[in-house]
């Protein structure tokens, strides 16, 4: 592979002592300048993959090349190419935003006469210029994430790894970060490997999405391709009264396969059927519903189709699973 901004992963496995295979033989190719969304529930193996690709963990087997360099043999070269914002924005609460940028710029080998200007540029870019000289202990979660992103960018990396960058952020901060990531790709041609457990994030931001579950890559493609695999939309009916649910479920079952849902009654429509067919049938049969909605397939539907579980359900399973992981 020639030296570029891409990522190539083949048969990557990472096992923990006395633990499960956190990453179980995944193959990924990320093209230069692409935003690749790595989607999966907590504990699926996303962060472990990022740790291997960023040289923080050696793989148990398989190969991974980042920017054309092998992550095991050429660790220092890989680190020189990449910017990383890990899941926990590990910042020093006693340092200011500017202190962090000065430290990071020095450690990343940014020339002394460029450091101050680069710090200033990044502080403006992530909207922290006014808070630059405040201690990080007084920053909000969104500000910490933005500073973390600025730190990852300090040496103008060609490839950026963002591990759940918007987890815990309010919608406004999340949108601002998405815009910044999109801008980085558009204006600087940066390749972005982004892990997320948010469907919307992968859908909005990623050119291609890989879905990981229990260490295995279960689906990969553009969001549109993945949704097209599912193909058929679903219809969701909200009953007026709770006691009507069984009757509505029985009625809708004639139009497609029932979907598990606690909030409404839903079916995945059979091919050739549309909302108008349902509305007419509901009216004709005097079915009493408060609302009827047609939904295009989502990435959650893709996850459900590939794993038999919803993303939310998978996350709950992981939370309940007792695990002991050691390096």
């Amino acid at each position: 592979m020639e030296r570029d901004n891409g990522i190539e992963v083949e048969g990557l496995v990472r096992e923990y002592k006395k633990g499960p295979r956190a990453v179980d033989g995944i193959d990924i190719t990320v093209a230069p300048g692409e935003i690749y969304g790595f989607l999966g529930p907590n504990g699926a193996g996303k962060s472990t993959t990022v740790h291997v690709l960023t040289t923080l963990l050696p793989p148990t087997s398989g190969t991974a090349r980042v920017g054309g360099y092998d992550v095991v043999k050429d660790g220092p070269k890989v680190r020189g190419l990449i910017g990383v914002a890990l899941q926990e924005a590990a910042l020093d609460p006693l340092l200011t935003g500017r202190d962090h940028l000065r430290l990071q710029a020095t450690l990343q080998g940014v020339r002394k006469d460029h450091r101050a200007a680069r710090a200033e540029e990044l502080l403006h870019r992530v909207g922290l210029a006014d808070a630059a000289d405040r201690k990080v202990s007084g920053y909000s979660g969104g500000m910490k994430r933005r500073l973390d992103l600025a730190l990852a960018l300090v040496h103008s990396p060609r490839i950026l790894f963002l591990d759940e960058p918007t987890t815990g952020l309010d919608p406004q901060s999340r949108t601002a970060l998405w815009e910044e990531v999109a801008l980085l790709r558009r204006e600087d041609g940066v390749t972005v490997f982004l892990t997320t457990q948010y469907l919307e994030e992968a859908d909005v931001l990623a050119d291609r999405v890989g879905i990981i579950d229990q260490g295995k890559l279960v689906a990969e493609g553009t969001p549109a391709e993945l949704k097209a695999e599912i193909g058929r939309p679903s219809v969701h009916a909200i009953p007026h009264r709770d006691e009507d649910r069984p009757r509505i479920a029985e009625f809708l079952a004639q139009f497609g396969e029932p979907l598990a849902s606690t909030k409404d009654v839903a079916v995945r429509l059979r091919s050739g059927l549309g909302l108008t067919d349902i509305v007419r049938a509901v009216d004709r049969n005097g079915i009493d519903v408060a609302d009827l909605e047609l939904r295009a397939p989502t990435l959650d539907d893709v996850f459900l189709a590939k794993t038999g579980r919803t993303l939310e359900g998978a996350a709950e399973e992981v939370a309940e699973r007792p695990t002991k992981r050691r390096r």
Binding site: L56, K73, E88, A90, D92, L95, L103, Q104, L107, Q108
Partner: protein, 257 residues
Amino acid sequence: MSSLPQVGAIARRSILRTSRQPASVIPPLIFPMALMAVNAGGLRSSTNLPGFPTTSFLAFAFAVPFIQGALFSTMNAGTDLARDVQTGFINRLSLTALRDWALLTGQLAGVVVLGVFQVIFYLGVGLTAGVRFESGPAGIAVLLVYGAIVSLSFGALGAWLAFRTGSGEAIQALFPVLFVFLFISSMNTPRNLIGVDWFRTAATLNPVSYMIECVRSLIITGWDFQALALGFGFVIALGLICLTLASRALRTRMTRT
């Protein structure tokens, strides 16, 4: 890329962190002085013992703060580094071009700067209180160098404990244990005047006794080269051992390919 700027950046961070935590700056300055004042007042009559090396207990006790302050440095340096492990800041550093030894050197350089600042403060208080150096101004210069080496060695001890345990709480729990070494030493009585056999033996086996006696010799004796050799020897040996252990533990902590 030269590692010197990296060392400087880590040292600057170490100093900034400490200077922004009054709880890390004030106790190492105040507590040793307070303990010295209490001992100098309460144990003054010890100077009447036959063979006591000086008539001023203040001059005798003035050596202790230099070692006690270094113990505080151990705890502060260790706690800071352990916190870096706990918060994942060490991962941030691992992802840069920072070399392992540059992290350790930078961190310890910060500890040494603060240690020398402590020594200057103790000297200022002591000289103001009337302590006179039998070894003269050159002895004060030697004490400054010794203070820097003591800070480095004890800082390396803190760094090793931090990288080994990865827990700030563990470092703080070990602090009283380190303090025991100070109390089972010749801090309050010359070894040859300790009446209890086991205590005298423990104080003789305890390297801290020789570190204190090294400083004490500069104040009350003048130039006692045996005391200086033992003091410098033990503290340099401690430093070398702890630096080796800390480097090894750091390599394990900064896991990267």
